[in-house]
């Protein structure tokens, strides 16, 4: 009996994946393999579906694409696009690394900030970039997010943030660690001003970002299957010498343990966020 266990779905995503309809494909079209259902999905179909596989697997998404998906057409105005990092500690190899990443991702840093409309409601947005050193938080990320929250307090705007991060950026040493305290203080000020902050945790949200602004939102949402945790799974396995439970550190796991409000699939996110913004836009009853 136990031998057949490998045939059973490993998670909720797979349960749906095995039975969904076969994928139509044109010959010669580029395809991407889904790590969940192992089918080759034509790229055009993935793009049309906001990078969600028909089986429900959410591929990682570039920050700009996500902004396009979430904000009303043409409403996004970028802020602080002129900020970029230097190598404050002269860390060996960091200059070269950041140049390469910049060229490859065509982003200057691992977060894009700005204002925009979501379902007709104005808000501040920050979206982290998985293809820029896995969204690691260095001085610039900390500075941009802090500045955005200060901007939001000044103009009394809600903030929506999409987090993707491997944690603090070790090449900036202590300075990147300090960004945790800096962003936390800015989020707290925003909160004390009575303003709404919604965080959407996407794959992966870990380390210093989990331990600061990702977990400080009024409403914390997550994408299905996203890795959400503090310490790395491999590190925990090595330290404790225990086999980690199935589904450890996933969005479903943190939901079960009470640390997020809800899991919202990507395709419903815009509507859901717009609804939340709307419900917080009026004055409370007096």
């Amino acid at each position: 009996m136990a031998l057949l266990n490998f045939l059973k779905p490993k998670n909720k995503l797979e349960e749906g994946g095995r039975t969904s309809a076969p994928v139509q494909r044109d010959s010669g079209e580029p395809e991407k393999k889904c790590p969940n259902c192992h089918r080759e999905i034509p790229l055009s179909r993935l793009w049309a579906n906001d990078l969600v596989c028909p089986c429900g697997y959410h591929f990682r998404m570039k920050a700009r694409q996500r902004i396009q998906m979430i904000t009303d057409r043409g409403s996004f105005r970028e802020l602080y696009s002129n900020m970029k990092a230097e190598n404050p500690l002269n860390f060996p190899g960091y200059d070269r690394k950041i140049e390469t990443v910049r060229a490859a991702s065509s982003e200057k840093e691992a977060v894009v900030c700005g204002t925009g409309m979501v379902g007709g409601q104005k808000c501040c947005l920050f979206v982290m970039e998985p293809y820029f050193m896995m969204g690691s938080m260095g001085s610039v990320v900390g500075e941009k997010i802090t500045a955005l929250f200060e901007y939001a307090v000044q103009y009394r705007l809600p903030v929506i943030g999409f987090t993707v991060s491997g944690g603090a950026r070790m090449q900036e040493g202590l300075l990147s660690l300090m960004q945790m305290a800096k962003t936390s203080a800015a989020v707290k000020r925003h909160s004390d001003a009575g303003l709404l902050y919604i965080a959407v945790l996407t794959d992966p949200t870990t380390g210093g970002v989990t331990a600061s602004f990702a977990m400080e939102a009024d409403i914390i949402l997550a994408e299905p299957g996203a890795t959400v945790g503090f310490a790395g799974a491999r590190v925990i396995e090595q330290t404790t010498k225990k086999v980690l439970p199935k589904g450890f550190q996933t969005a479903e796991f943190v939901l079960e343990h009470g640390f997020i409000d809800s899991i919202i699939p990507r395709l419903n996110q815009k509507k859901y966020l717009a609804e939340l913004l709307k419900m917080h836009s009026g004055r409370a009853m007096v």
Binding site: M170, D192, A211, S212, A231
Partner: protein, 311 residues
């Protein structure tokens, strides 16, 4: 069982405080090591600086160093320990309570590593779990209510990474501390006495003043971890240690800490007296500060801003 262990360690700690500091302190004081550390510190510009920095990391981890409770018992009078986070459990890796600094009641919180193998196991090697951070926050909020300053002693290789810690929201616990400490209405002084490991240390160091012992280290990641991630080779930890800029001098030049405490006489009565005097003076100054939380905000606000180029 854990209660019994606790009683024993508590008793031991008490003995420790009441015995004249003499012999006990000498044990702590580095006989030869201290001199060596000093040499290393002075030779840091040397071509072999790499190795020296890593030596200091090892020194910071030395189990013979005074631990958090040693500082509490020797600097303050009448320490009364409080337990538990009122949510889940009591974390022995974090010890806290109230004590008197001279005549002023203060809240003291320390990450405690323990000295002997038994103590160290009981204290989880100074790696706090979420309940430890929540206990610390509870004590800080209590301090705020009664207008007591908060003094933290930080000595941890990092927040504990374990299955239970993740289940109970290690990240959330640290985040909440950072957020609440940023607006706490009483002065907070944190002293890094050994290892300052990443978010686990910062969760007790989002303070008005952060001081470091001369041979303490403060880093975003352990040198071993950094080397194994970046260079896939944890034996390059010495190079990583040098690159991470984790010594007290580096912390000061980056503006992350305000003061370096000399370790020449570590563990002696004079050493603790000196820290007591510095704390008393600093608290006097901080308690006169009407813009306390604004200044604390600005203290962190400027960190890293210089590393940003605006085009």
């Amino acid at each position: 069982m854990s209660q019994a262990v606790y009683k024993r360690t508590d008793k031991r700690a008490d003995e420790h405080a009441y015995k004249r500091t003499g012999e006990r302190a000498d044990e702590h004081a580095y006989k030869r090591t201290d001199e060596r550390a000093y040499e290393h510190a002075n030779k840091r510009t040397d071509a072999r600086a790499y190795k020296h920095v890593y030596e200091r990391v090892k020194l910071a981890r030395d189990s013979k160093r005074p631990t958090g409770l040693d500082y509490i018992k020797n600097i303050f009078n009448g320490f009364i320990e409080f337990h538990g986070d009122r949510r889940y459990a009591d974390d022995p890796a974090v010890a806290g309570g109230i004590a008197k600094l001279g005549n002023v009641p203060v809240t003291v919180i320390a990450i405690e590593k323990g000295h002997t193998a038994k103590e160290r196991t009981y204290r989880n090697f100074g790696m706090p779990k979420p309940e430890g951070y929540r206990k610390a926050l509870r004590l800080m909020k209590q301090a705020e209510k009664f207008g007591r300053p908060v003094i933290c002693f930080v000595d941890t290789s990092g927040a504990y990474c374990g299955i239970g810690a993740e289940e109970r929201g290690q990240g959330q616990a640290i985040a909440e501390n950072l957020s609440e400490m940023s607006t706490l209405c009483v002065p907070i002084i944190s002293i890094l006495i050994g290892e300052g490991g990443s978010g686990g240390a910062l969760a007790l160091a989002a303070a008005d003043r952060v001081w470091m012992l001369q041979n303490a280290v403060y880093s975003v990641i352990s040198p071993e971890g950094c080397a194994s991630i970046l260079w896939k080779d944890s034996s390059k930890a010495d190079a990583a240690a040098a690159s991470l800029k984790l010594t007290a001098e580096d912390g000061k030049s980056l503006g992350v800490i305000e003061r370096i405490l000399s370790e020449d006489d570590i563990g002696t009565k004079e050493f603790y007296d000196r820290i007591r005097t510095l704390l008393t003076e600093e608290l006097k100054e901080l308690s006169r500060d009407v813009e306390l939380t604004q200044n604390r905000y600005d203290r962190f606000r400027k960190l890293g801003a210089a590393a940003v180029i605006k085009e």
